[in-house]
């Protein structure tokens, strides 16, 4: 093992140096900006986690598993998983092994940035020692892995259906430049190392290739141009990286520690939100997943395009996309990076200026509060049932729920027998947080006055906001699906099972993805009939299309979404569609070809 050049330099390393310093500088400035834009409390919290051993371990593990191995993608699609992890992990190993070689054989050169990258050009006879030949073997091995990933990537670009994607994003110009330069890097590296293999040494890949080339190429004149091309491809990739989707590589490495620290989106463009936007790899998985994209409509309103528009600053489109979304959260559920599309949109809605803002501070809730205080729930605990606006509109759910409560012998009373106030969730979704807080304060007054120990809700929209935004420390907030399942399990509700009854459960967005409740309603349904599953279910269930999340979607635009959700639910041909959300129920009833019932109604009939 010896060095070929005393000065250890050749001009062809210059493009690489330009690229690496540009991209490192850009990312450093970006990182400082993002951290500086965080609210003070968040920043302190984040910086503290960086020195806490538990979080350091979590961060290292998550970055390794997500950024290099792409575990989530593996679970979703093996081919895409292999493609991404082979390129990411393979490239990472090439860099690490390159540095290892330099540290082992020429430690005084480690301070040169370019040396580990172009190691094979600067040294000779590496394979004559055992560690040298082993490292050369590993380098060839990982280069082969990366090349296999690149091959898959090229196939995917021309036939995306082979890897199981229906629709993908249209690439921007910079994305294309980045993509082609990325494709070029590794074949060029292979060529360059092969041409030099008779001097520097190589392994199972480079030495045979060198031999083959030497059979018909009579001289070494092509060696330097190839190294130049390799360096230039690296330079092009790194110089365009900040303006392409490949920015997700560095951005995600900061996103993961911030998410682990529990930082939330507070502004649609600054701090954590900008990090989420830059972490979007523009893969387009959210396009197929989005319930709005049925029949090829609204494809350009998926989260991936919101991120792109936020990066470009296209205000008109940002507003349009933000207002249209159903906030069902499916894009986040399928996203490999976990970009919080709905939260980005709500933050954007919250920035909007209004000439007129509602004011609920004048509402007098004392009559309602005194009514519940003197009711059957009394001061000594009991269940307070809040039907909410949507359940008031579907009185059958309210009747079934109260009937079940009576059958189980639960001491209960209604919070809104003659209609009450809204829970505040629709205002939150519209970005009008301050007004929602007023309603929350009013409702809290009533709940506190009742002295209940359980707040029962039959609407997941209410349930989510009561759970997350209300300071109800000693009051248990529970959705009726969970409450009734507990009553069935404890034997207080006796169910008569009807074997011919085929039921399918529709996971409402707010209950499933919103609150993580999937199993309890299914267990309850299994007690009354045969439970079948929809095509897409659990975290990937399809929004009914009636969501209050969307501000601008018209009834006509929502109809195909509802039909699509129904088609998905009826794949296994169930007799009845069961859901746990009055809004989903009201939406489905209009379009369904078979009965749609609330969970409480089905249970009440069989009790």
């Amino acid at each position: 093992m010896r060095e070929r050049f005393a000065d250890a330099f050749h001009p062809f390393v210059l493009p690489f140096l330009v690229g690496i310093f540009f991209v490192l500088g850009y990312c450093l400035v970006g990182m400082i900006r993002v951290i500086a834009q965080l609210p003070k409390a968040d920043r302190k919290r984040f910086l503290l986690t960086l020195i806490t051993p538990k979080y350091i371990w979590m961060n290292v593990r998550d970055i390794f598993l997500n950024c290099l191995i792409h575990v989530k993608l593996w679970k979703r699609n093996k081919v895409l998983g292999y493609m991404h992890s082979s390129i990411a992990f393979g490239w990472f190993m090439l860099i690490v092994l390159g540095h290892l070689e330099v540290m082992l054989f020429v430690p005084h050169r480690i301070r040169f940035f370019y040396y580990p990258i172009f190691f094979n050009y600067f040294v000779a006879e590496t394979e004559q020692t055992l560690p040298g030949s082993l490292l050369m073997f590993l380098m060839d091995f990982f280069l082969l892995i990366v090349l296999s990933g690149i091959t898959l990537a090229i196939i995917k670009r021309f036939a995306s259906r082979i890897v199981g994607m229906r629709r993908t994003t249209r690439l921007s110009l910079f994305d294309r430049i980045g993509l082609y330069s990325l494709w070029a890097i590794f074949p060029l590296r292979l060529l360059a190392e092969s041409f030099t293999a008779h001097i520097s040494g190589g392994s199972f890949l480079t030495i045979p290739m060198n031999w083959v080339f030497r059979q018909f190429l009579g001289n070494d004149l092509h060696e330097l141009p190839t190294w130049w091309a390799y360096s230039i491809a690296l330079c092009v990739f790194m110089c365009v990286l900040p303006f392409t989707r490949y920015m997700h590589i560095p951005a995600e490495m900061l996103l993961i520690p911030m998410r682990n620290a529990g930082i939330r989106i507070r502004h649609p463009r600054k701090g954590f939100a900008s990090l989420e936007v830059y972490s979007c790899p523009s893969c387009g998985v959210c396009i197929d997943a989005c319930p709005m994209s049925v029949r090829k409509a609204n494809c350009k309103d998926a989260t991936v395009y919101l991120n792109r528009m936020l990066r470009r600053g296209n205000e008109r489109r940002i507003e349009e996309i933000s207002d249209k979304c159903l906030l069902c959260g499916k894009c986040t559920a399928v996203c490999q990076v976990g970009v919080q599309g709905p939260e980005l949109r709500v933050a954007q809605r919250a920035r909007r200026k209004y000439a007129l803002s509602p004011d609920f501070s004048e509402i007098n809730v004392r009559p309602m509060a005194s009514a519940v205080a003197s009711g059957a729930g009394g001061k000594s605990g009991g269940v307070l049932y809040f039907a909410g606006c949507m359940t008031q509109l579907t009185p059958s759910i309210r009747r079934a729920t109260t009937s079940l409560l009576d059958k189980a012998g639960v001491r209960w009373q209604m919070m809104d027998p003659d209609g009450g106030l809204c829970c505040g969730r629709p205002l939150m979704m519209a970005g009008r947080t301050d007004q929602a807080r007023q309603l929350i304060a009013k409702n809290l007054e009533i709940i506190r006055a009742s002295g209940c120990d359980t707040l029962l809700l039959s609407c997941p929209i209410c349930y989510k906001v009561f759970r997350e935004e209300y300071a109800l420390d000693d009051v248990r907030v529970v959705h009726h699906s969970v409450f009734f399942q507990e009553l069935i399990a404890s034997g207080r509700l006796q169910m008569q099972r009807e074997d011919e009854l085929r039921l399918v459960w529709h996971d409402p967005c707010e209950l499933g993805r919103g609150c993580g409740i999937y199993e309890e309603p299914r267990q309850a349904l299994a007690a009354v009939g045969e439970l079948v599953e929809a095509g897409k279910h659990h975290a990937e269930s399809i929004c009914c299309g009636g969501s209050l999340g969307s501000l601008t979607l018209s009834y006509e635009q929502r109809q195909p979404m509802t039909q699509n959700a129904l088609d998905n639910l009826t794949l296994a041909n169930p007799g009845t569609i069961v859901t746990g959300c009055p809004l989903c129920l009201a939406t489905f009833v209009r379009a369904a070809d078979r009965p749609v019932r609330d969970l409480a109604e089905v249970l009440d009939e069989h009790c």
């Binding site: 909007r352 200026k353 209004y354 000439a355 007129l356 803002s357 509602p358 004011d359 609920f360 509402i363 007098n364 606006c389 949507m390 008031q392 509109l393 003659d418 209609g419 009450g420 106030l421 809204c422 505040g424 629709p426 205002l427 979704m429 519209a430 009008r432 309603l439 009636g546 209050l548 501000l551 601008t552 979607l553 018209s554 009834y555 006509e556 809004l583 009201a586």
Partner: protein, 112 residues
């Protein structure tokens, strides 16, 4: 002369003096507003109606009759719960209508 009844001048609407700028802007932004048949389903279901008299039907009517104060009072009671949207037989997106109206000032300009 006393006929036993009289015209109340306070509630008489002079359509010539009504400024329709806000209504016109609204219908250009939310054309569906024009399809309202005034059936009153929204009034019947409104969560805010018991304590504010809110009704989308009356909002649309009030806008065309220059009853701006009444309209603003009703709009500032809306909790966006979406019941009116659910029951509207014309499928009008009433929440979009209300939010759009809240963005307009008295001259019918979208505030930025």
């Amino acid at each position: 002369m006393d006929f036993g009844f009289k015209l109340s001048p306070s509630s008489a609407v002079n359509l010539d003096t009504v400024d329709l700028a806000r209504f016109d802007k609204l219908t250009s932004l939310v054309p569906d507003a024009l399809t309202c048949i005034g059936c009153g389903s929204c009034s019947a279901t409104c969560t805010a109606a018991p304590w504010s008299g809110m009704s989308v039907r009356k909002v649309l009517l009030g806008l065309q009759r220059g009853r701006d104060e009444e309209v603003d009072k009703m709009l500032s009671a809306c909790m966006l719960c979406g019941k009116c949207t659910m029951v509207c037989p014309r499928g009008i997106n009433t929440r979009h209508l209300i939010l759009t109206l809240c963005r307009l000032n008295q001259k019918g300009e979208v505030v930025r």
